[in-house]
């Protein structure tokens, strides 16, 4: 087992211990869990929603819901997958309330610019960022979700299946469709097709 795997395993074991304590009502254990997973939960909310403020609100909602329903946690799931499912559902609820569109302008703004770039490079990047934003906003929800979870978050296909309540074959198919749609629209917006 390499270092990365060993470290992930240690983290998973620690999380299981913490959640076992939290299920008995140990609030401190849950606070530690929230601290450990805050980056992950906020990051996923941000990728799904595209807005910083909303991502932070959504992440708080997710932890509150997790604490309210701590006794329903199924130990067959990893803590990360359980939290991802909660935050995904909450983020999708928010998206549906505002008509299914995510706002990725903030998400792309910071990530695709760099101080060392020339103006031409920056212009190219901005152009690409515009295109990516438009594509992510326009993708149907089920495709956007698997694309974010797999290609942006790096979540395993089996975990995506649990989070989305489907099976691995469906996730693979949706991923293929999502990437193909993304490419198709990407090429269309950049005038290559």
């Amino acid at each position: 087992m390499d270092d990365g795997k060993a470290s992930r395993q240690r983290k998973a074991d620690a999380s299981r211990e913490l959640i076992a304590k939290a299920r008995t009502g140990d609030r401190e254990a849950f606070d530690t869990l929230a601290t450990n997973y805050a980056n992950m939960v906020i990051g996923l909310a941000f990728k799904l929603l595209g807005s910083r403020e909303e991502a932070l609100d959504c992440a708080q909602d997710a932890f509150v819901r997790a604490w309210e329903n701590i006794e329903r946690y199924d130990p067959k799931w990893s803590v990360a997958t359980w939290l991802r499912r909660i935050v995904t559902n909450l983020a999708l609820d928010r998206l549906r309330r505002r008509g299914g569109r995510a706002d990725f302008s903030e998400a792309l703004e910071g990530s695709l610019t760099s101080a060392e770039e020339t103006p031409v490079e920056t212009a190219e990047r901005n152009e690409r960022a515009e295109a990516v934003r438009g594509l992510l906003e326009l993708l149907p929800e089920k495709y956007r979700l698997v694309l974010v979870l797999r290609d942006m978050e790096g979540v395993d296909i089996s975990d995506i299946a649990r989070i989305t309540g489907t099976n691995a074959a469906t996730v693979r198919w949706r991923l293929h469709r999502a990437r193909a749609l993304f490419r198709q629209r990407w090429l269309a917006t950049s005038g290559q097709e």
């Binding site: 609030r27 849950f30 606070d31 929230a34 601290t35 805050a38 980056n39 906020i42 990051g43 941000f46 990728k47 910083r52 991502a55 932070l56 992440a59 708080q60 932890f63 509150v64 604490w67 309210e68 990725f104 998400a107 792309l108 703004e109 910071g110 990530s111 695709l112 690409r128 960022a129 990516v132 694309l147 797999r150 290609d151 942006m152 978050e153 296909i157 693979r172 991923l175 293929h176 990437r179 193909a180 993304f182 490419r183 990407w186 090429l187």
Partner: protein
């Protein structure tokens, strides 16, 4: 492998999700197909763009954790102030519902089957073949010791003596009259539940009845107790030889 097959696998190949043997086949095709190689490059670029756009999420700061802590405190308060009453806990609700269902089945389906046959025409053991629930009357008194046939309220006087001389009947006040809608006490029935017949079908042809095995076992046990109590009473009631 042709271009069509590769186009279905190339997204997974670009993301490194294919099994080794499939990946080798795709790679072999792409080496000799500029069109598919271009497709692969596009998907790799898309993957890169998506990954690079994922890196700028807000970081949780002290304010985030303070606000979260307050909200969790509120949840704690709610949990403490409004504990779930036992009646709303699922296992309690389940038990109550199961008990209610058992009572319903017994009252609705089983008791009508056990309703008394007219005096003097009670079935005997040979009637088992006509239905799994069989009522046997051990005695066929021409006059019921407990009241007039068909009457729901036994009409014997207070502290009367039964025809079985040694048994003193309980005092029945107007306020605690026996509820005996099926007249079970009038005929002193004995009940048999055949072991092998399952599910129980009632003898009333107009109603199709079945009860669960648990309810069946409970009913049989109750009736055994009833029978044994009646046996004991009869034993006492026998005139001394």
């Amino acid at each position: 492998m042709d271009c069509g097959q590769v186009s279905r696998l190339v997204t997974s190949y670009a993301a490194g999700e294919l099994a080794a043997d499939k990946a080798a086949e795709v790679a072999a095709h792409i080496d000799n197909c500029p069109q598919c190689a271009k497709l692969l490059e596009e998907y790799r670029l898309i993957g890169l763009v998506l990954r690079s756009s994922a890196g700028d999420a807000p970081r949780p700061d002290a304010r985030f954790f303070r606000a979260l802590g307050k909200r969790l405190d509120e949840v704690d308060k709610r949990k403490r102030v409004i504990p779930t009453p036992p009646i709303f806990r699922w296992h309690v609700v389940g038990s109550v519902a199961a008990a209610a269902a058992a009572v319903f089945v017994v009252v609705t389906y089983v008791l009508p089957v056990l309703s008394p046959a007219p005096l003097g025409s009670a079935r005997n053991d040979s009637a088992r073949s006509t239905g799994p629930i069989i009522v046997r009357v051990s005695k066929s008194p021409s006059v019921s010791p407990y009241g007039n046939p068909g009457s729901y309220v036994p009409n014997y006087p207070t502290a009367s003596r039964s025809p079985y001389r040694s048994v003193t009947m309980p005092t029945i006040n107007a306020t605690d009259q026996l509820y005996d809608p099926y007249g079970l006490r009038m005929t002193m029935p004995r009940f048999y539940f055949p072991r092998q017949s399952w599910p129980i079908q009632g003898t009333n042809p107009s109603v199709s009845q079945s009860i669960t095995r648990v309810e069946y076992e409970q009913l049989r046990s109750d009736i055994r107790q009833l029978n044994s109590r009646m046996d004991a009473l009869e034993q006492k009631a026998k005139p001394a030889n």
